[in-house]
């Protein structure tokens, strides 16, 4: 961002402190407490959002952010505490009540019907929407005024994720909100789209609409927000001006300790190809799902290859085609250590040395109501855990116990049900389980999503050790910082197509951002002897 918005933001900051002294906050929470079985999600949380202020709610996954915003939006009722709306004590009974008060919320997951147009979608959730035609006019007007280009007559299935988010924002703005809650809005956007969103949000702030901005991305918060409330373990641990903090100091408030640094050793040098993907195409079952088109990719022994991309661009389908959950028609499209296996299923691919950490932990990576020991058996049954068709219970308990220890999985022993673990602990268990199988090829989907920083370091270190042992590792992630930190080579997936693969260090975050919007054809042409050209030659 240039200087100009900073200036306005600085003056806004001045206003905020001014208001804080004399005026009433738009929203104030006092001592909000919410107890869930086994976890105190919110422990006496107080915070205040000034009129026109952009207030950050910062915290790791599991810190209690979601519960708190659900309370503000009337989805969840607090056990104790008080909400003041423009100074008045208020009980917010339902989301509809929240909207009537002037609270709008843009969720991380959108509530849109694919088969309806933008205007139809907006009219559905809105009281007093009026007829579609005048609504469409108002949608166009709002979208122009705030720099959120959308066409009210377009069907939602044809929209990109960024455009869908704009629909949700416009839907909120139509109600003239006094407070807009944004839950992790940038996780689905390219860096360029993020910049545009910030211009819109700052404009809204300058017009007097308060914004509660939820994120764990520190740079964004430093750029956008006037105040920040930092949550950890359900409690407020700090209230600060993010501009006066460094990303490091913010991170330390969020985590509560120093952040360890992991060093990527890139001296090893990649060996023979272990996972080869050639002209991989896949039709989607879902009429609006992403179709994979002509993906070419080679992952070699001793390297980590990262695939960036905005969520919903074919990552899920690509990983399923590689794991065997969605076999492909062309058997030669996927090769493991030179053996064609496009048509065979997950179990057969695993016996060729593949291991996989899926995106969904509970229900896919682990069976919720089974013990950790039995969940070790889920993928480990080939490795001496079964003799003559019978399960060796001492062995599975032993294996699960070792994973638990090595990855510091917090659970009530190996007999604890998978669903009783927190997301981060279960993720550590699943990653440990898969790495413990000593795979030749490891596929990882969002390896550190929702995991605290200490655990992320453990996971990254284990990935580095596996890499050193000669395995080929493929990571799909939305977290660019993570990819730049641990990968040797990078590519981007957009609209089901894969960009050329480049060495880490030979591409900037801006270029990756451009690729994430699907614009990598020009780059592919310019690159000499890239994977794209080899494919074209066929």
């Amino acid at each position: 961002m240039a200087d100009a918005p900073d200036n306005t933001a600085a003056s806004a900051l001045g206003d905020v402190s001014h208001r804080r002294d004399h005026g009433t906050a738009q929203l104030e929470l006092r001592g909000i407490t919410k107890q869930y079985p086994g976890v105190l999600a919110n422990d006496s949380i107080s915070l205040a959002v000034a009129p026109g202020g952009v207030h950050a709610l910062l915290g790791e996954n599991g810190a209690g952010k979601s519960t708190l915003v659900k309370i503000i939006y009337g989805v969840v009722k607090p056990d104790a505490g008080e909400i003041l709306w423009a100074g008045e004590p208020t009980m917010i009974n339902s989301p509809a009540h929240a909207r009537r008060l002037g609270i709008g919320m843009v969720f991380q997951h959108f509530n849109l019907f694919d088969t309806l147009t933008v205007a139809e979608n907006i009219s559905l959730g809105m009281e007093g929407a009026g007829d579609l035609k005048s609504l469409a006019g108002r949608v166009s007007e709002i979208s122009e005024r705030y720099g959120l280009p959308i066409n009210p007559h377009q069907h939602v299935h044809a929209l990109s994720v960024g455009e869908r988010q704009r629909v949700e924002i416009v839907r909120c703005l139509l109600q003239n909100p006094k407070l807009l809650i944004m839950d992790e809005p940038t996780s689905v956007l390219t860096p360029q789209e993020v910049e545009k969103l910030f211009v819109t949000l700052k404009r809204l702030g300058s017009e007097g609409c308060s914004i509660l901005y939820i994120s764990h991305k520190l740079e964004e918060i430093r750029e956008l927000c006037d105040d920040a409330t930092v949550l950890r373990g359900g409690q407020v641990v700090a209230v600060c001006d993010p501009r006066k903090e460094t990303p490091k100091s913010l991170a330390e408030m969020m985590i509560g300790s120093e952040i360890p640094v992991i060093k990527r050793d890139d001296g090893a040098g990649a060996g023979a190809p272990r996972l080869e993907v050639t002209m991989l195409s896949l039709a989607s079952d879902d009429p609006f799902g992403t179709i994979l088109k002509d993906i070419d990719l080679t992952v070699r022994a001793g390297e980590v290859l990262g695939i960036a991309g905005v969520a919903g661009n074919g990552q899920k389908e690509f990983l399923m085609a590689l794991s065997g959950e969605k076999p492909v028609a062309d058997n030669d499209a996927v090769k493991i250590d030179g053996r064609a296996c496009g048509r065979i299923g997950p179990a057969a691919r695993r016996s060729l040395g593949l291991a996989f950490v899926p995106e969904e932990r509970l229900g896919r990576g682990a069976v919720p109501e089974m013990s950790l020991a039995k969940n070790a058996l889920l993928t480990g049954y080939r490795t001496g855990m079964v003799r003559r068709g019978l399960i060796q219970f001492d062995r599975i308990a032993d294996y699960a116990g070792r994973v638990r220890e090595a990855y510091d999985v917090k659970s009530a022993g190996v007999d604890a049900e998978a669903r009783s673990l927190s997301g981060g602990n279960l993720q550590k268990f699943i990653i440990g389980r898969e790495i413990g199988l000593k795979p030749g090829i490891l596929l990882l989907a969002y390896p550190t999503w929702g995991v605290d920083v200490g655990a992320a370091t453990t996971i990254h270190r284990a990935i580095m050790d596996l890499k050193a042992s000669g395995a080929a590792i493929l990571i799909v992630s939305e977290d660019l910082d993570e990819l730049f930190e641990i990968c040797d080579r990078l590519a981007v997936i957009a609209e089901g197509r894969l960009s050329p693969v480049v060495n880490n260090g030979e591409i900037t975050i801006e270029e990756i951002g451009l690729w994430m919007s699907g614009d990598f054809d020009t780059a592919a042409r310019a690159e000499p002897a890239g994977a794209g050209e080899a494919a074209d030659a066929r």
Binding site: G31, P37, S46, R349, R364, E369, L377, G389
Partner: protein, 366 residues
Amino acid sequence: MRVKLEPRVASSQWMRYGGPVMALAATVIVGAILFAALGKNPANGIYAFFIAPVTTLPGVADLLVKATPLVICAIGLSIGFRGNVWNIGAEGQLIVGAVCGGAMALAFYPDDGWYVLSFMVLAGMAGGMAWAAIPAFLRSRFNVNEILTSLMLTYVAIELWKYMITGPLLDPGGSSFPQSREFPPGTLFGVIFESARTSVLFAVAVILAGWLFMTRALQGFKVDVVGQAIQAAHYAGFSQRRVVWLSFLVAGGAAGLAGLIEITGPIKQLPLKFTPGYGFVAIIVAFVGRLHPVGMTIAALLMALMFLGGDELQFELNLPPAIAGMFQGLLLFFVLASEVLIRFRIRVIRSARRTAPEASQAGAGE
């Protein structure tokens, strides 16, 4: 004050096993109330229903005779229920098994060498499997809901039964009364005591095999994974189609065996009507027994006792025979209701809200 169900952090093991016991207690209490409402002494009613039938040796033998087909059917079905395959047509599979086994005996008639009974056992199981293969095929090939197909095929099986005993298998020496001729003695299971026969050993074998499969075998684990988390099964590469086929074939084979045991034990021929709904009651047995072999064994004995108790009430207290079915239904109802307590606990909340002045004082320091 209000009462609230609250999710538990971990499933309660105590409720998993204590639940059915509580359900049985609730059944007895409601039963007692019912007896009182009918103008009978509740204590007499409960005694006649639950205790009197097993106070004599013939009574114990009858209990085993009735429990044998129930437990065999239930264990066969439970594999499917664990794997989310809903075969509720065991009754039909049992009938077809009995027809096939009976036809085998009649085909060899009057030969009754030891091998005839072996062929009958195989034919009974094969018949049940074949009948179960129809919904298995429809489900795995065309994704047709197996609840409907397996249930409806039961009524087809009943018609098939009627056709066979009035047509091809009709007793040639009889007065065209719809039933087959009696099987020769060598084709029946041997008597152990009173009405109990060696076929009880099949029940023991099925219980042991079921226990081994469900608690120790990798294949049983795969069934559980498919049943509990289908995405995890896809992820691990466990085939759902295989579980569908396995479930139906095992359940069909078990039901067919149960049907054969019934006609080669107490009945000795293919009569007009021979099953008091074993295939349906086995579903209750499976759930009351928590889909666990030990639980199902206990549940099968309990259900068998209720059949006998129903007869007893009819003789002793002049109550309609439907009372047995009612008790069975009550027990299933309470067991299913108790299931919620495994994952939830009941909490009584006395006062939910803090008063406003208190809250504002707490916030006043800011």
